[in-house]
Amino acid sequence: MSEGLHRTHEGRVLGTELLWAFGVGVLVTATLSMIVFTALTRDINPPSNVERVDPKTLHLSGEFAEQNLGTVVADGTVTARIIATQFMFAPHCIALPQGRPVTLRFASPDVIHGILITGTNVNTMVVPGYVAQVLTEFTRGGELLMPCHEYCGLGHSEMWANVQVLSAAEFKPDRDGRVTCAQR
């Protein structure tokens, strides 16, 4: 190869590489802009609540005592409190409304668990010592599955709960503001 041809070829390769770098820069910027735009306009963010809770007294008193578990409507706000423990969720069925903002609060007294609700973007880790909180709104009604998605021991595959997303007509709080799963 002559030196002149070599230089011409190198110049062409450099031009192509610079064009490629520019194109990739545009793609990365567009992708990040789209994520930031939807985060700001539609309020879609990774759950990032940091709140301590004592795992040793979780079931004895306070927010996650047995009588406080499940879904409660207070001042128009829907909150569900759930304990994830080896190898079950308490309560095993959670009733939630469709088309209304809800707050899901999870705590674990033993090991690290994780939850997701099928067909939705609800997905978080449940770490002992912390309250995992997810704010969401269910767009579709029906029975959804909520399995543990973080290996937590030999019974991990048996650890799951049901989420019943009820329409406004079905989602009826009782006198104490509590809502339990409908018998179907």
């Binding site: 190869m1 011409t8 062409r12 064009l19 490629w20 793609l27 309020d43 990774p46 969401t136």
Partner: protein, 64 residues
């Protein structure tokens, strides 16, 4: 090239049997071909990402 022949100090002075014009023609389209191949692969990846983001992730509702 015979094995026992010493290499030239400047590699561009080495004699070979390659046709310079044909080589120049090939080298002119090589970067374009590489860009097309890489561009198609990245375009498919980005289209897949966009399809999942717009038609699966966003319809699943808000979360925070």
């Amino acid at each position: 090239m015979p094995v026992d022949q010493p290499l030239a100090a400047n590699p561009f002075e080495e004699h070979d049997d390659i046709d310079e014009a044909a080589l120049a023609a090939v080298l002119r389209i090589v970067p374009l071909g590489a860009a097309m191949l890489a561009g198609s692969a990245v375009a498919l990846l980005v289209l897949g990402y966009l399809a999942i983001y717009l038609f699966v992730f966003l319809p699943r509702g808000v979360v925070g």
